[in-house]
């Protein structure tokens, strides 16, 4: 269908779906792809990525930074107006104040901005400001009233409107990658006067939000239909090629493919099972694979488990190595991507192709990490070997685990069982009731049993029926859990800092002093090569000691779409990648062939850009 498209036969409405969880359009309270899609297309931040992933100006026309990357000054595009849900220009202009107001909004705990923690150590003073307010709300006397604290915002928090169109951020530490934060919704502007006007109703309906992006929300029927319509006053409206984005709610994801086939959708995802079913049908040629992304899947082990058998074992390196080698990540990956599962395994904590040093070297290609990146550790024999070693170290001849006796283990909602202090080791694998998760858990359980020996391990699958946090993480009711984390900004610290002994991602309760030290050391460095080298050392430490087990990337799912690929902004983090800017929708689905061609072309262009840049 390419030829006919080239003559300009593009459709100008994008039909998509969204499922249940999408509830609010508060830009600072996003938790789903739908939310990202809506906000990224309706509100612009200072910068965005282009289709090659380059940071390009958006509402900021230009910017400068000081020597040690701690003060950043942005010159805003003038005369950009906010529009309302009728697409009408309002009296409000997008000014530097609006960006300040955005920061003020998210720094107030009352507004419960999601992901606040991610930036709490970036902007100067923001953390103290936030926690002071939180303390006051909780009734703790900090010697100031709420009003006083709120007033102090301008002095204490590192964001300032120097004039109508000049904005300045002052940062805590040297942050050369600060631009990668700016594509996050937390740095988006909000019109101050409007916010005061609507008060608590802010963003509870399309009328109580203003838009400065390529689209405005013209229809927002909760749980039914969301329509984004092209904003005629958009500063970059030439690049808005699709007139309307139409998102229909589906209760059941099941119907997506069916609807696509009936011509009701522009694009839909294809599960591994659907893929198999499409084999040999006319649809086969349209199924394309999504690029992998920066989300990393890893196993968290509970070092303080209530299960004494497991606790004994997990604190033994050999056992952890047995786990490392015993998990067949390709098989797990093939649950999502049956055709080339290998492509989606990831054995490093930090995603590849995401963080580059000034020399253009991928952080994951640093010598400390390269061997991990390149080798699939799965090796059942090795696993068995390590397992036996661990047993040798931890058990007496007759299979009694040293220091463990008969005991009952109470992981309240997840599992409740008796251990006998003998082999096999009981391992509680916690999962949710989501069908795919359940399937994965069952698969992993089977793997462990087979690869470590059924006589050595016994996997108990525990289900968290309502809230994973309540039932699994908070009470630490698990031995082994499989989880995923997105990489939020362009620095290894994005994940590594959260993995320190006191970090928010340390759900397994481990203590890694050496790692902590290395991370601290690295964060202090502003020379990127030096910084990355120390980070890679820290990461290596985690991997060497198998503290957590990364195994897979996010993405890697199949889809069918009529949207021409590689035209819209590309970005590893933030909201940019959800933008529809520049998108083209052809009347037939994109074929594999077309995709490959465009992909090659795209890569070529990037290559060229790089060469020019350097």
């Amino acid at each position: 269908g390419c030829s006919n498209n080239e003559s300009g036969g593009y459709e100008d409405v994008f039909y998509g779906t969204f499922s249940g969880e999408y509830k609010t359009i508060n830009p600072y309270d996003l938790s789903s792809v739908t939310g990202y899609t809506i906000i990224s297309n309706t509100i612009d931040g200072l910068v965005e990525n282009d289709k090659y992933g380059m940071v390009v100006p958006s509402l900021a026309e230009s910017w400068t930074k000081n020597e040690d990357d701690t003060v950043w000054t942005f010159k805003l595009r003038p005369d950009v107006y906010w529009v309302d849900s009728n697409g009408q220009k309002t009296e409000y202009k997008v000014t530097a104040d609006d960006f300040v107001e955005g920061i003020r909004y998210i720094s107030d705990p009352k507004n419960a901005a999601k992901n606040f923690r991610t930036i709490s150590s970036v902007i100067k003073g923001i953390s103290d400001y936030y926690y002071n307010l939180a303390d006051i709300d909780e009734g703790i006397d900090i010697g100031m009233t709420r009003e006083e604290v709120e007033k102090s915002f301008e002095e204490t928090v590192g964001v300032k409107a120097l004039d109508e169109y000049t904005l300045e951020y002052t940062l805590d530490t040297s942050t050369p990658y600060f631009l990668s934060y700016l594509v996050m919704e937390l740095f988006y502007p909000v019109e101050k006067e409007f916010l005061n006007e609507v008060g608590e109703d802010f963003a509870t309906s399309k009328e109580t939000l203003l838009y400065n992006g390529g689209y405005y929300i013209s229809t927002w029927e909760r749980d039914k239909l969301i329509v984004l319509t092209k904003n005629d006053y958009y500063w970059d409206k030439e690049n808005i090629t699709v007139r309307e984005i139409n998102l229909q709610k589906v209760g059941d994801e099941i119907t997506g493919l069916e609807m696509f086939q009936r011509g009701e959708l522009t694009s839909c995802s294809v599960s591994a099972e659907q893929l198999k079913a499409l084999d040999g049908t006319e649809w086969e040629k349209y199924v394309n694979l999504k690029e992998k992304n920066t989300v990393t899947f890893w196993f968290t082990m509970n070092y303080q488990s209530k299960n004494p058998e497991y606790k004994t074992f997990v604190n033994n390196l050999n056992f952890r190595k047995a786990l490392l080698h015993g998990i067949d990540r390709v098989k797990i990956s093939s649950l999502y991507e049956p055709n080339q599962p290998e492509f989606f395994i990831r054995n490093t904590i930090t995603p590849e192709d995401t963080v580059f040093d000034p020399n253009g070297v991928d952080y994951t290609d640093y010598p400390n990490l390269k061997p991990y990146k390149e080798n699939n550790p799965y090796d059942p024999e090795l696993a068995k070997e390590y397992m036996n070693k661990a047993i040798e170290e931890l058990c007496s001849e007759d299979g009694t685990i040293n220091g463990v006796g008969r005991e009952s283990v109470d992981m309240d909602r997840i599992a409740k069982f008796e251990v006998d202090g003998k082999l096999p080791v009981d391992i509680v694998l916690a999962t949710t009731t989501d069908p795919v998760e359940t399937k994965k858990a069952l698969l992993i359980a089977e793997m462990l049993k087979q690869n470590l020996g059924e006589e050595n391990v016994n996997v108990i699958v525990g289900y968290a029926a309502t809230s994973f946090q309540d039932e699994v993480f908070s009470p630490m009711n698990f031995d082994l859990v499989d989880d995923s984390y997105s990489f939020k900004f362009a620095d290894p610290s994005a994940n590594l800092e959260r993995l320190t002994t006191d970090g928010s991602l340390n759900e397994g309760g481990y203590t890694v002093e050496e790692f902590d030290k290395l991370v601290e050391e690295a964060t202090a460095k502003s020379d990127l090569v030096e910084r990355y080298t120390i980070f890679s050392e820290a990461e290596k430490y985690m991997l060497d000691n198998v503290i957590i087990i990364p195994y897979m990337t996010g993405g890697g799912s199949y889809y069918i779409s009529k949207e021409v690929p590689f035209l819209t902004p590309k970005g590893q983090f933030g909201l940019t990648k959800y933008k529809m800017k520049g998108s083209k929708i052809q009347s037939d689905p994109v074929t594999v062939e077309q995709y490959e061609k465009l992909k090659a072309q795209h890569e070529e262009e990037i290559e060229k850009l790089f060469q020019e840049g350097n």
Binding site: G20, A112, N115, F116, E138, E200, S205, K224, G251, S504
Partner: protein
């Protein structure tokens, strides 16, 4: 009569109060951590969490909360949703959703009465004949097979056969057909079966035999005596049916993506959106109690026997 209405309303009011109170107190048993989504929970410190809980008022003593709730209700303020539609006023949520459920509910009542009642009459009239057996077969299927199963298969297959959209689109009239029909599938059977049962019961009464002995023809007796009397017990349920149309159908709204009330209660309970749960329970119990009450009143008007026992006193 007045006294009866008065007494019944008092009784209904008490029931509503108790239900709300019980549910309210039950909800206090739930752990507070349920007020956060996983994401929130992770990104918040303990202090943030407490501050948040405090700000939504769940840390007050239960009785205070109950008082506040009731006072607010009487002030016409249903409060705001907490987790399901963060910060959105519940009135808005209901305003948006009730319409859909009501439209489909009403359509389904019309369809089910329109088809169910004639079906019941035919079944009673030709008791033991093919019509009856077919009707019985249909109602057995609809009542014995879990509704999820046949509704799902109905959606998939019928939409395919008649080339109808699988989902509901507000602006595509043909997409209203399937959900409206699916919603009536079981109530058609309900009306048919009960009407048949009542008619057969009636037909065995002495006064029906007597009416026949009077020389009235069977069809006349059926129409003027049997059907009329058999409709009385059916009528009791009609106010309830009409009132509760707004509650929507969870399964159907889910299958067809209708943004109605159906799944709201389950969602709000699962996400422990106390405010929303309370308001919904309040609404449902008021409606169901009111429905029963109106049903009883209706009967007073259509069944002369009841009127008398009241006015005699």
């Amino acid at each position: 009569m007045k006294k009866y209405i008065f007494k019944r309303s008092i009784q209904s009011l008490i029931t509503i109060w108790i239900v709300i109170f019980v549910v309210f107190m039950l909800l206090r048993l739930m752990p507070t951590s349920g007020y956060f989504t996983r994401d929130d929970y992770l990104t918040m410190t303990e202090e943030m969490r407490q501050a948040y809980l405090k700000s939504i008022g769940v840390l007050d003593p239960p009785l205070t909360q109950f008082k506040n709730f009731i006072v607010n209700i009487f002030n016409g303020d249903l409060g705001r949703s907490i987790t399901v539609y963060p910060r959105l006023s519940i009135t808005t949520i209901l305003k948006e959703k009730i319409g859909y459920s009501a439209v489909f509910g009403f359509a389904s009542i019309v369809i089910s009465m329109g088809l169910g009642i004639p079906m019941g009459i035919l079944m009673a009239r030709y008791k033991g004949k093919i019509v009856d057996n077919l009707g019985t077969f249909y109602s057995v299927i609809v009542r014995a097979v879990p509704s999820l199963i046949y509704l799902f298969l109905f959606q998939v297959w019928v939409s395919k056969i008649f080339d109808l959209p699988m989902l509901f689109y507000k602006d595509r009239p043909e997409s209203w057909i399937l959900p409206a029909i699916s919603m009536s599938l079981s109530s058609i059977a309900w009306y048919a079966i009960w009407l048949r049962r009542f008619m057969v019961d009636e037909a065995n009464r002495d006064y029906i035999k007597f009416a026949q002995v009077k020389g009235l023809s069977e069809s006349y007796v059926m129409r003027k005596h049997v059907l009329r009397n058999a409709f009385v017990p059916i009528a009791i349920g009609i106010p309830s049916d009409l009132l509760l149309i707004i509650s929507g159908s969870l399964i159907i709204e889910n299958l067809y993506s209708i943004p109605g009330m159906g799944g709201l209660l389950i969602d709000s309970i699962k996400q422990m959106d106390n405010n929303l749960v309370q308001v919904l329970v309040l609404i449902y119990s008021v409606l169901s109690v009111l429905g029963v009450f109106l049903g009883d009143l209706l009967i007073v008007f259509i069944d002369p026997r009841i009127r008398l026992t009241e006015s005699e006193d």
